[in-house]
Homo-oligomer: 361 residues x 2
């Protein structure tokens, strides 16, 4: 058991983007206050919280003041500097723990950790410098993807290698930093399990959505996925194994490849709420955001059952200009993130269409 943060308490959130914003909104529903820490900029999370610290993550004094003002701290993204989180953790509980964060910040460590639990991943090998790339390609084969070990997201820091001709220049394109080379998996579909482990070690998994991407960014999450109940149950059970091994408190998102023979392999995990769980805001009594707040505060986890089927679609960049026509759709929940500028590739909002359960049209 972990100490309980009672109603009226303050949640510290590192990061002021849309995930921090939706975490703050969920905390508010439970009578909790939010304090958001982020560098100055276009930070939509700061529009909906009770306290704001605008500072760089390496500002030690700001970290200390922030830590002293909250009852528990969390983060909205895994690429936050570890030193900042460690400093805050010396003064107040940070959940999920530092361990999960450290592992997830490095693709090599992440995959090694998953393998060691006897959970499958794509084939991979470390590529520490440019000279190792041809050896790695010989081991993994083609097609493959060269991925930086650190600081990649939404397809950044990734280079697709279709054959030997693509090796030249690939190292520089990926960023010129230590990488892994990952064999491309010939999967039938991609699903994700958004799940929480609470202060009492209880685990609650939402039903896995099926995810499709466009230009390396999540486009649509649809629940239920077109998979058997056995595959859904296996994905949840493996996710629960991962949560327990990490001694995790909070929401995690694990992306799974469903292979053509029905076997499952991890693509990657994110130690936080996740874009593929946004449908839970509208199709479940308790959303992934509230579930995360409950878990880090030592509250009972909420019921992850869905009352409706759902299809979530991201609004990327100028797609957000469709807001008025989307707002008029039946059985539709529109979510706009309050970002000032609709840059290309930027997540500006999402829209979830609900359907009667077990009847996705």
């Amino acid at each position: 058991m972990i100490p309980v943060v009672t109603p009226g308490g303050a949640i510290g959130i590192l990061g002021g983007g849309q995930l921090g914003r939706m975490l703050a909104l969920a905390a508010a529903r439970l009578g909790l206050k939010s304090h958001i820490f982020c560098p100055p900029g276009d930070n939509p999370g700061t529009h909906v919280c009770d306290a704001i610290t605008l500072a760089e993550y390496d500002d030690s004094a700001a970290c200390d003041r922030f830590a002293s003002s909250v009852d528990v701290a969390t983060y909205e993204f895994e690429n936050i500097p570890l030193a900042c989180v460690e400093r805050i953790a010396s003064r107040v509980a940070v959940r999920p723990g530092i361990g999960a964060l450290r592992i997830s910040q490095d693709r090599l460590h992440e995959k090694d950790f998953i393998r060691q639990l006897n959970i499958a991943t794509a084939p991979y090998t470390a590529v520490d410098h440019a000279g190792e790339l041809s050896r790695a390609a010989a081991e993994i084969g083609f097609p493959a993807i060269l991925k930086t070990r650190r600081l990649g997201y939404d397809g950044r820091g990734q280079v697709a290698l279709r054959g030997p001709d693509d090796l030249a220049g690939a190292w520089e394109k990926a960023g010129g930093a230590p990488c892994i080379l990952e064999g491309k998996v010939d999967f039938a579909r991609e699903i994700s399990v958004v799940a929480a482990r609470g202060g009492d070690d209880a685990i609650a998994c939402y039903d896995p959505p099926e995810n499709t991407h466009r230009d390396g960014i999540l486009d649509i999450s649809r629940v239920p996925a077109d998979i058997t109940v056995e595959i859904a149950a296996a994905a949840k059970a493996l996710t629960a194994r991962l949560l327990a091994a990490l001694d995790y408190r909070g929401v995690i998102a694990v992306e799974w490849f469903v292979l053509k023979d029905g076997q499952l392999a991890v693509n990657e995990f994110a130690p936080r709420v996740h874009n593929s769980g946004h449908w839970t805001l509208d199709a479940c009594a308790v959303s992934q955001f509230e579930q995360h707040i409950r878990a880090i505060c030592g509250w009972p986890l909420g019921d992850p059952a869905r009352h409706s089927d759902a299809e979530m679609r991201n609004l990327i960049g100028e797609e957000v200009e469709q807001w008025a026509s989307l707002a008029a759709q039946p059985a539709t929940a529109l979510h706009l993130y309050g970002k000032a500028e609709a840059r290309k590739g930027r997540k500006m909002g999402h829209v979830t269409r609900l359907f009667p359960k077990d009847g996705l049209a």
Copy 2:
């Protein structure tokens, strides 16, 4: 049509209680900012908004600054001083309009207005001073309720008169101000219609919940109500007539008595979001709070259809101490308002249990 407040715009909300709070949370979901104006105190709405004005409602300079900082203004309660709203309305649109507010602030005007639309109310007569009470009682009969014309809510300013013996002292008990005497209606049940009229004159009605009270305060709202589809349709149609007559923009709540013969009579209306509509947060794609924000911003109204049946229960005073066990219930959404002190009779939160549609256990 009214001018549209686009994403990124600022909503001014008069009042910092739980309704203002839930309006601000709904505005955030649409990418809008909220500025809350309220007197200093325990104001949970101020925990979740982008800007705060802490001032008395008769502070003209504060009203002017507030009005200049927002794109549209609204209010969370009808007992706000009219002069404040009029001053703000001279600088920025206030919705719903001043007209509906003025009518709803006086029970006599409200009932006269409804009657004039050929909509039934309880029998009533004005009681301007103590000396008129026995004349009024002879006209209305017993049992009856003496209600102050102004500033009553949650049963305050009301005195039940069972017979002639209750007349003595009743005027003083009600507050010694102009009243109406209302005949008690022998109703089968009470329902309410929460409905919105948008900038394009479109009207959207949620399904009417059945409401039960305890100690003069709403206890439970259950949807669907135990009424025929014809009665539900009639209540919606009459509510739509009222909205059009008021040239209303925003959400209104009309409380209806369902008489034993199936006829409908208005109990009262509130020119705002309403406690009996809280279930829409969890059982509809678009809640009453978001619907109000859409209506005052000139957006298309959201689909008011419910995806689930629901039972909403208020948490009054120390009932909020049950939060941990309520949080653990299946298919249940807990809402806590972030109020610092759980005083007797104070609305501290609510809890909504969802059920598959058309199957309230």
